[in-house]
């Protein structure tokens, strides 16, 4: 579901599979625990291996944006597959400046 790495002040969370309301809390728990432990300057959410997501995947980004901001870091969302662009565009997340 999520593979976490920490290197040079950057936590990278490689998400995979499907993200919905059932799965999102587990991802949130793992990512937040890692960030609270490592206190990274940057959190990277890699959506490259996500095959499906509904708005729970958007909630996951918004929540991590708040979390990492409170820790003094910044968020990046990378490798969003073509099939997920539509829901990311609808969410308006581009306005947060986190999409890379």
């Amino acid at each position: 579901m999520v593979d976490m790495t920490y290197q040079n002040g950057v936590v990278t969370a490689r998400l995979c599979g499907e993200i919905d309301h059932h799965i999102a809390p587990k991802l949130r728990g793992e990512i937040d625990a890692c960030c609270e432990s490592c206190r990274p300057s940057r959190l990277v959410l890699d959506y490259g291996s996500v095959s499906f997501m509904d708005s729970s995947g958007i909630g996951l980004v918004m929540g991590r944006y708040r979390m990492i901001s409170l820790l003094g870091g910044r968020l990046e969302v990378v490798n969003v597959p073509k099939g997920l662009k539509k829901i990311f565009t609808l969410s308006g997340l581009e306005n947060l400046g986190v999409m890379k």
Binding site: E18, D20, H21, F52, S55, S56, G59, L60, M62, K86
Partner: protein, 147 residues
């Protein structure tokens, strides 16, 4: 417009069933020869509607979520997602983007996604009785060669 196929399913309002529901709907859609993008749109919209039922309709205890899906000879998919939960007091307010009553990191985009990913969304709700969300989508490349 004639109904050429129909299926009904019901399941307990456990979040683990969100994946089952959207996968079942997608599988039933296949005779209409949908594109990958059309399948993704339907799965996403159904996932939102089913999640709403699980999260909002039955906040205190499990209930039953019902899906009634019909395919027409014009290549239209009509999907009703129904619950017998607490109902929605103000449908207009509930459908506003970013509005949510949940504290569980919900984006408040459920109805906005349904509207964006399908051709028509109808919501009927009675407080204390339940809610029915009807999603309709035309499958462009119908196996019947019709729009």
């Amino acid at each position: 417009m004639n109904i050429i196929n129909n299926m009904k399913l019901s399941f307990i309002s456990k979040s683990v069933n969100e994946s089952f529901a959207r996968s079942a709907v997608a599988a039933f859609l296949l005779p209409l020869d949908p594109t990958v993008a059309e399948i993704a749109d339907i799965k996403t919209a159904v996932s939102e509607a089913v999640t709403n039922a699980i999260v909002h309709a039955y906040p205190e205890q499990f209930g039953t979520v019902y899906i009634d899906m019909r395919l027409t000879d014009t290549g239209r998919a009509i999907i009703k997602i129904r619950d017998k939960g607490i109902g929605i007091p103000d449908i207009e307010k509930a459908m506003e983007p970013l509005y949510t009553t949940s504290t569980d990191e919900r984006a408040g985009l459920g109805f906005a996604v349904m509207q964006s990913f399908t051709d028509r969304v109808r919501v009927r709700s009675t407080v204390g009785k339940g809610t029915t969300v009807t999603l309709e989508k035309n499958i462009i490349r119908s196996a019947h060669g019709k729009k």
